[in-house]
Symmetry: C2
């Protein structure tokens, strides 16, 4: 699909990735640093990297296991790899923190602005709906989304086409009529593969993935999002 097929103002629906995009997966760093002084950032980063790897390895290998447990497996790997012995209480606390991830501060206003402009909003996440609903509620975002969709409904993880297709099914619209917003560069690419008009939220100034496709737009934070649809 060429970039010229991007026409964001015509998108009636805006679908959001959850982890990393709406919610800061690294907001666990503070608690991780209390558990393992000076190692919070390293643990948070390896935890996230392994969490993603395990979703890809399992889904591709036909060994789906739900995101909560994959997240726990990744945490256990990270603590072992970094030689940070983790008590059961620490593990429990870190896992519970995943249900209270902080939203990036500008996100709530951006979502409200889009909704006020008549867009229908949704979340499409690897996380089970229970996990996602918990962070949505914690962030005061209840009522903003028409659908909270999860790969758990099809027992697969992104980048499997069946996961992205959930949004087409929920809204009875082709992907081409919807925007997909992710801060995960690979997710923004895979959404393009699936036909969406994707927007990459590049908060960290990363270089793009080399996957033969580019997002329709790149922004630095969600506050720039409403302007793309004018």
């Amino acid at each position: 699909m060429s970039q010229s097929e991007c026409s964001l103002p015509q998108a009636a629906v805006v679908v959001f990735d959850a982890y990393g995009t709406l919610f800061d997966v690294h907001s666990v760093r503070l608690l991780a640093d209390q558990c393992f002084p000076g190692q919070g950032q390293a643990l948070s980063q390896l935890w996230r990297q392994k969490q993603l790897e395990y979703t890809w390895l399992r889904s591709l290998g036909g060994r789906y296991k739900s995101f909560w447990w994959v997240t726990q497996d990744a945490l256990r790997y990270a603590s072992q790899a970094l030689k940070l012995p983790m008590s059961q209480d620490q593990e429990n606390a870190l896992m519970q923190a995943y249900l209270k991830l902080q939203a990036f501060p500008e996100n709530l206003a951006a979502l409200r602005s889009l909704k006020a402009a008549g867009k229908e909003l949704a979340i499409l996440s690897n996380g089970e709906r229970g996990m996602v609903n918990a962070v949505v509620a914690h962030a005061g975002m209840e009522g903003l989304f028409s659908h909270v969709l999860s790969g758990d409904q099809v027992g697969q993880y992104k980048t499997a086409p069946a996961v992205y297709a959930l949004a087409e099914q929920a809204f009875s619209r082709p992907a081409q009529e919807m925007a997909f917003v992710s801060s995960n560069a690979w997710d923004a690419c895979a959404a393009r593969w699936a036909g969406f008009q994707s927007i990459w939220v590049n908060r960290q100034g990363q270089v793009p993935e080399v996957l033969d496709v580019q997002a329709c737009a790149v922004i630095n934070q969600l506050s720039e999002l409403p302007g793309l649809f004018l």
Copy 2:
């Protein structure tokens, strides 16, 4: 599958992963360091990490592209991410180096020993057979393998079950009767998912992956392999 189903001495066939197991993907480090003084190790590591990520993302997303080009894409990503501007000549040289990766020094003797003991040997790789045959020839390993099998034959990458099944088809044997040897911890796990008696070559003393399965055996280098089949 439980560990108790492992019985390595009864394996008639030993299947090897290529990159990282027989051949040292980080043997490009020297050339990379000549291109980018002081940055060879960083480039080599990110190149490899992205190469794997791209195989997972593409295969799961139904966007297979052959390993040579995925390897080139990953190299381009790595040079951009590390802010190491790469000339066309440098890119060509680094890609050509991938056809001459060094075998780990003990490997040739270990393979010959297994073959002399009556085992049938094969390679099962993500790489196209042309790529793999080049490194096999460069390492003086020609004639040792009954089959050089590649995910390219099915247009998928590990951990897709169809890739591991290539060995079952080639030898007309169930995976349970074959050993699978990989230094990539995730590959040794996925081979167990596929039914093989897998052996993890843990050269770096890494911690195991947390994927609900363990290799049948863990060794530090291939010279320990023949002893497992006695």
